[in-house]
Structure formats: C-alpha cells, structure tokens
Amino acid sequence: MSRVFVPLVLVALVMFGAAPFVVANAPFEQTMGLVQKIFYYHVPSAMLMFVSAFVCGIASAVYLFRRSAAADRVALAAGELVVLFGAIVLVTGPIWARKAWGVWWEWDARLTSSLLLWMIFLAYMLVRRFGGPGSEKLAGAMALFGMANVPFVYVSVNYWRTLHPKTSVVMTLAPGMRGAFWLCVAAFVILYVLLLTVRKRLEDTHAQVEQLHLALED
C-alpha cells in the first residue's frame, strides 16, 4: 500500500479538482435544476458510509472471534469514517431537501435510517473514547450489532414512512449525468481508501509506541 499511496493521493487530488467542472457541465435535472448537483457529493458519501459500516462490523467480528488486534484498528478507522461520511450526508441532505421538498428535514425512510446508522457509530466512538480500559470489545460488539441492525432499521423505518427517491434512480440516470456521477463515486472511494489506510497506520504506530513504552518500563 505504501508504494501506491502517493500516486493515489495525486489521482484523488486530480479527480476532486476535476469534479466541480465535470459536475457543472453535466445536464441540469428538469424539475430541481441547480440544486440537484449536490447529488454528486451526497450519494457517493452515503454509499461509503454504508460500506464503511460494514467494513467496521466485519473487522470487529474478526477482532472478537480471532482476537486480531490489527482488525480492531481497521474497525476503529472505519468507524470514524462512518461518522465522517455520515456527517457529509447529513449536512448535504437537508440542504438539498430544503430546495427539493421545501423542508430541512423530513422523517423519510432513508434519511431516518442514515441518521440512526450515524447515531450507532457515534455511540461506537463514545464507547471507544470514554469506556476506559477493555472497551475495545464492547465497541466491537456495538459495531457488530450495529451492522446486523442495518436491515431492521431499514425495514422498520421504511414501513414507518417513505418519501425519498428510490435507489433505482442511480441506474436510470440521464446519460450525461452518469459520467459525472461515477467520477465522483470513484473519487470518493479513493479518498475513503486513503483515509482508512492513514488512520490504520496511525493506530499501528500508536500500538507500537505503547509496546516500546511497556518494554522500556520492564
């Protein structure tokens, strides 16, 4: 990873630099007009938020059952990224909703389930931060249960309310929008991988320092 890291950073920079121009050139959506452009950042962030939740959940399961400390560090990095991308989703969503639906917040299925998923991972971060020694396992269980909870949250909230455009919207995009959209998705995926790697490496170094510290004291 360390060999491709710098080139990937460059690729991501180029992609994020190009994205505003590509997005600006993409055709306007008929009913929503300019505000629909937020879609190019909102949807990729939402996708990565869900992907990251699953990365965190699976890494936590590996940590709990295989006792792999490295998996725990991946889980921590992924958990933080759920909160980060979730924050992007929950900021861009209401801005879009204000223009498209006329309200900042609507108790719609997808909004509510994103909010709940975000809450679960905020709770995950709280345990890690304030749980004291031994809280890694507790946090691991939280991530695992949070991941298992995703379908339940989705079904229950879906039957409770619904208003959001269906996911099939991605497949039925106008041809002019498709290129810009997938460029943004690719850029966000690269960003995600980079952040995950950096954060994991930071935790690895932390663990190493800790070990050296203990070795010095003995």
């Binding site: 507790l138 695992l144 079904v155």
Partner: protein, 227 residues
Amino acid sequence: MRQFLRVAWVVMRKDLTVEMRSREIVYTTVFFAASCVLVFAFALVREGRPLEDASAGILWISIAFAGTLGLGRTFERERHTETLRALMLAPSDRPAIYVGKLLGILVLMAIVEAVLVPMIGLLFHAPIFARPAWLVALLAAGTVGFASVGTLFAAMLVRARSRDVLLPVLLYPITIPVIIAGVRGTAAIFQSTPDEPMARFWAALLVFFDVVFVTLSLWTFEPLMTE
C-alpha cells in the same frame, strides 16, 4: 442441552431469589415506570383529553426507560459484590449464564409491564382488551428483543467506566427497530378498528429481530466476557 437449561434456570432462580429478599429493583423500577407515564401524561394531555394515538408510544417509551434502569441495577448488584466474576468462573457454558440473566430480566420487565399496561388503559383510555392476544404477543416479542441486546451490553459494561450513561447510549440506537415495531404494532391494535394485518407484520418483524439478536448475543457472549 439439559445441562445448559439447568444452568440457565439456576442463574435465573438465583437472581429472582436475591430480588425477592430485598425487592429493591422491582419496587424502584415499577415506581419509575409509573412516574414516566405520569410525566408523559402531563406533556400530552390537553384539556383533560389524552392526545390521540399517544398511548402506544408512551407505553413503549416507559418500557424502554424502565428496562434500562432495571438492567443497570441488576448488573450493578453483581458488580458491587464482585459476583459476576464468580459466575464467569463457574464450570458451565457461558451462553447458559447469559440466558439465565436474560430470563431474570424478562421476569422483571414482565412485572413492570403488568403494571404499565393497565395504567395506560386507565389514564389514556387505551382499549387494552380489544386484541389481548396480539398485545401480549407484541409485548413479549418486543421485550425479548430489547432485553436480549440490553443484557449483553449491561454485562459487558460492568467492567467499563461511565457505565451508567453508556448503557442507554449503546442500547437505544440499536433497539430503535424494536421501539418502532412495538409502537406501530400496538397503535394498530389500539385503533378504533384494530388493524390485525398491520399488527401481524410488526410482530413478525419483532420475532425476526429476536431470533437474530438472541443468536448474535449467544454467539458473542463467550468472546466478549473473556478477559
């Protein structure tokens, strides 16, 4: 399997015997649940008339609050006397201990609900006898879902710092589907014309939730409780 059930039974009986001697948790939790309902009554009753459709929500929120309190107190007792470690040292299946604790919590929550439901009927004019079987089914399935996750988290939190605040912080986001299903299912049978297919849908979701989360808890209890 018989050994497993026997251990679970013994752990539950131990919890209930301790509780029967002091009755501390039952009395305080029931009183807390009743005061919850009263607080909601003052917020949601206008001109002497309860808000329509509020009763199901109040019932389930009170159950969730009282359940959290009961879970916290039950494990605080174990922590105070250092008995959870002793329990873990016992030469028996760890999941059996989990099931025993879960059964104890379920009995406690059933007592709380037996007080709460008539209160809701009395104070909010909820038709609790409209579909009694569905009401009991929803309450049972919802309570198992809530308590299965709650018992696992409360057991793990025994060793953690700031456990009092972390239990609701962890438990509520995870059990939101239980609350939604419980409230919507109960509201469906509290309507003037009970909507049975709706109640069936939510009860099915609750049962599915129970199966998944009880399995997950049984599966993770062993690695989680190993120091």
